[in-house]
Symmetry: C2
Subunit: 295 residues, 2 copies
């Protein structure tokens, strides 16, 4: 396979992902709205393009890693976008987390140009991007995935094909529904125990090996206890993902009672200026509700 790739979106995730592609021997052309970050990557061996359209002229695989649905739409479908110059049999790999339904729409537009799409959102956060250990959930044609596998393997470890276009995004949102629900359950339990004066460290030790065990409990409850609210994953990003879940649940007519409630709880954190905190700050909302004052 071609060792050239175009990469659009140099945020906290995109930069380390490009690093790992360069390290694995790929020739990377980058585009970013903020030119400064692109210049930085050029210093490390990347080439810079002045628009998604120009980047696409020179590459037959284009990766997008941006914030939200409208960003992907504008990069691919907008003026000077990918669609204007894409060649037949090229592949767009969107690794952002965006709407499953818009993903299907974009894939259809690319298909009209005889190009392919993979939706390949990731989990594992900044650390996973740096370490090249991201989990990647892939929707799209499995042959196209196989063609791009070595490239994805430069950035991630657990690469799973989950279905057709849009389904990578659906599974990513599923991941967020569970992560938010498990986090909230942990928070309600800790506040309940705290109100009873239980030693929370001992309580976690007692329950985490059994039916209450979860990644959220093991990784985030200790942060809550030592009042460490540094972001592993930011509240604002969780809220963006839960907004996608809510929009999708509305159009698909699927009721998600607890997820919807938890989305509202997170609003309370955003209302008090905690949008940039880690999701474990959710315990502050539940403490407020329980009338617990923490110094």
């Amino acid at each position: 396979m071609d060792k050239r790739v175009g990469f659009i979106g140099l945020g906290i995730m995109g930069i380390p992902m490009v690093h790992n592609l360069i390290k694995a021997g790929f020739e990377v052309t980058v585009y970013n709205r903020t030119a400064l970050k692109a210049a930085q990557m050029v210093a490390e061996g990347a080439t810079k393009a002045i628009s998604p359209k120009e980047l696409t002229l020179e590459n037959s695989v284009i990766i997008t890693m941006v914030s939200d649905t409208p960003d992907v739409e504008s990069i691919i479908l907008g003026k000077n976008g990918v669609l204007e110059s894409i060649k037949p049999d090229s592949v767009v790999i969107d690794m952002s987390t965006i709407s499953p339904q818009v993903t299907q729409k974009i894939a259809a537009r690319l298909r009209e140009k005889k190009a392919h799409m993979l939706d390949a959102p990731v989990s594992g956060g900044e650390q996973g991007a740096v370490d090249g250990t991201l989990s990647i959930m892939v929707g799209g044609d499995i042959d196209i995935l196989e063609r791009c596998r070595s490239m994805l393997e430069a950035m991630g470890k657990n690469i799973v094909h989950v279905g057709s276009n849009g389904m990578g995004q659906t599974v990513k949102l599923m991941n967020q529904i569970i992560a938010a629900g498990n986090l909230n359950a942990t928070v309600e339990a800790l506040v309940f125990a705290q109100k009873h004066g239980v030693d929370l460290r001992k309580a976690i030790e007692a329950v985490q090996g059994g039916a209450a065990g979860s990644w959220q409990l093991s990784h985030l409850a200790p942060c809550m206890i030592r009042r460490d609210f540094k972001p592993g994953f930011m509240v604002d990003l969780m809220q963006k993902d839960l907004r996608l879940v809510m929009e999708d649940s509305e159009s698909m007519r699927v009721s998600l009672p607890a997820t919807s409630l938890i989305h509202q709880m997170f609003h309370s954190l955003q209302a008090t200026g905690e949008g940039k905190s880690g999701t474990q700050a959710l315990i502050k909302v539940m403490e407020r509700l329980a009338g617990i004052e923490v110094k």
Copy 2:
């Protein structure tokens, strides 16, 4: 320590626990409301008492393993109960799951007789009871726990002292808050994915290794997918525990928004005759809400 113990309550948990005590060399006297089950244990080497009071005359350690708060109250505080014949320095170990606040009240009554109490509820279910691998969360005086440790080790593995009387029960309820929340998150995510036509097995494979990982996802989602609703843990018992959580959250003034919602969702299962199903049947409620018909 004394190798004699009195055991009250021969249900699905109590019977295998008595087996394990006998196997570990303890002389067990049993009492059960339904005499038939006691007779069965006598055939296996136990002695039978005709009342909690009589059982207590002959034993200085008494274990109770019954269904609910009023059962424990009547066995200990009621007519012909434990309190009528308990000797100073005896120990009552309540391994049922009951109200933390009633536990404190019972402990105080025992203290008046210079007797001790441990609240030592378990998790791990019937299989854990059979295998002798129950997790045991202990509230009460740590010296008393040490005195009874070898007895508890005949029945369980992870024995953790979590605080004073009532705190064992509080941590058990905390365990149930998390288990119910994680289960519900799993269910909402699966129904969301199902509505999008995702292959659920692949989706679970993609997410269970990361931030969405939990015991509930790994153990119960596969049951849901193969429509296996046999009880690992019964809906009716989860509802009893969540009722204890709700009563306690009311009297302690602690808000548990999602736990309360999930308690209501489980009512829907009880309303359709699924009280004896495993908790994983919760997916049926969410499928109904989403208008999904499953053959």
